[in-house]
């Protein structure tokens, strides 16, 4: 197995852990706050999920930059100016910064969770969509719109789910 294959596998595993982690972080959080508080067991599940998410991010970043280094060493450095690559790099920085802001409680939770979920899926889609031909600005504008849309959808789901469970309990 050559280095390129090893790095591709690592990159995919990182993406899987990150996308899966972000998805289940949202699901577990929703289930945890259903009764208005996060008990120790729920907290433990969330902590484990965030750990998996961060492991995915580390794997993604290390393998991603290693692949770029490999391309440079093989003389294929033209790819480094690809707008889709730069969109992925920007979104990866947003994922990392968002995690810090959420940890510091310096971002509204609806925006933080939306940024996390949308960013991971966006990074995955940009990595898989080989035939995409779009500028950096177009991709980022689309991304911003989706962050807001997903934020709205998640908020509606939260209101419905929590309101529904309280209604059922009564």
């Amino acid at each position: 197995m050559d280095w390129h294959t090893i790095l591709i596998i690592s990159h995919i595993v990182g993406t899987v852990l990150g996308v899966g982690g972000a998805t289940f972080a949202e699901i577990f959080y929703l289930k945890a706050i259903k009764d208005g508080e996060i008990d120790p067991t729920e907290g433990s599940f969330l902590k484990t999920t965030y750990f998996i998410l961060r492991t995915g991010l580390v794997l993604l970043v290390l393998s991603g930059f290693s692949m770029l280094a490999l391309k440079v060493s093989q003389g294929a450095s033209g790819y480094l100016y690809n707008p889709i690559l730069w969109a992925k790099l920007t979104i990866t920085i947003i994922i990392a910064t968002n995690a810090l802001l959420l940890q510091a409680h310096a971002i509204p939770s609806w925006l933080g969770f939306s940024l996390s979920l949308t960013s991971w899926y966006a990074a995955m889609i940009l990595g898989l969509w080989r035939s995409l031909d779009a500028s950096y600005v177009a991709i980022m504008l689309f991304y911003i719109v989706w962050v807001l849309a997903v934020g709205f959808i998640l908020e509606r789901i939260r209101v419905w789910y929590i309101g529904n469970s309280r209604h059922t309990r009564v």
Binding site: L68, V72, S73, S77, L80, Q103
Partner: protein, 146 residues
């Protein structure tokens, strides 16, 4: 020579991730001093290693071979701005990482108790992390121009 470049990139990135871990560790409600000391030292060690490997590549390969190609190519600003700024801004990082590690070792108890002192440490850790990200992205721009 490519080995030095790849080592510079990968180890430098490990340093940036260690700095990020330090920052994340500082933002937790309950600090783990052992974690901060370990991550802080890892960041410092990684930056020193990246400094040496990068410097070796810079002096022996980039300067005589790569720089003229970039300067005569379609993106001369990749060297004139990005590389010139990067090679000097990078020097800040091991210094700041060293200070953070020393403070975790020597003043760790105070960081836990004094919120305002902790804020100053968080600002320093944020700066190191931000510089690391800037330097890494600059590296992508420079490599792409070659």
């Amino acid at each position: 020579m490519t080995t030095f470049l790849i080592a510079h990139i990968v180890i430098g990135l490990i340093g940036v991730m260690a700095s990020y871990a330090v920052l994340m560790g500082l933002l937790k409600k309950r600090l783990s001093l052992a974690f901060l000391k370990t991550a802080g030292f890892a960041a410092f060690l990684a930056y020193i290693t990246s400094w040496v490997t990068g410097g070796y590549y810079y002096v022996l390969r980039y300067g005589p071979v790569v720089k003229p190609i970039i300067k005569d190519g379609g993106s001369p600003w990749a060297h004139a701005f990005f590389m010139e700024a990067k090679e000097h801004i990078f020097l800040f990082m091991p210094v700041l990482a060293f200070v953070l590690w020393v403070l975790f070792v020597a003043a760790g108890a105070r960081i836990e108790k004094d919120a305002r002192f902790k804020s100053a440490i968080i600002a320093l850790a944020s700066l190191v992390t931000a510089l690391g990200i800037y330097v890494a992205l600059s590296g992508v721009v420079i490599s792409g121009a070659h």
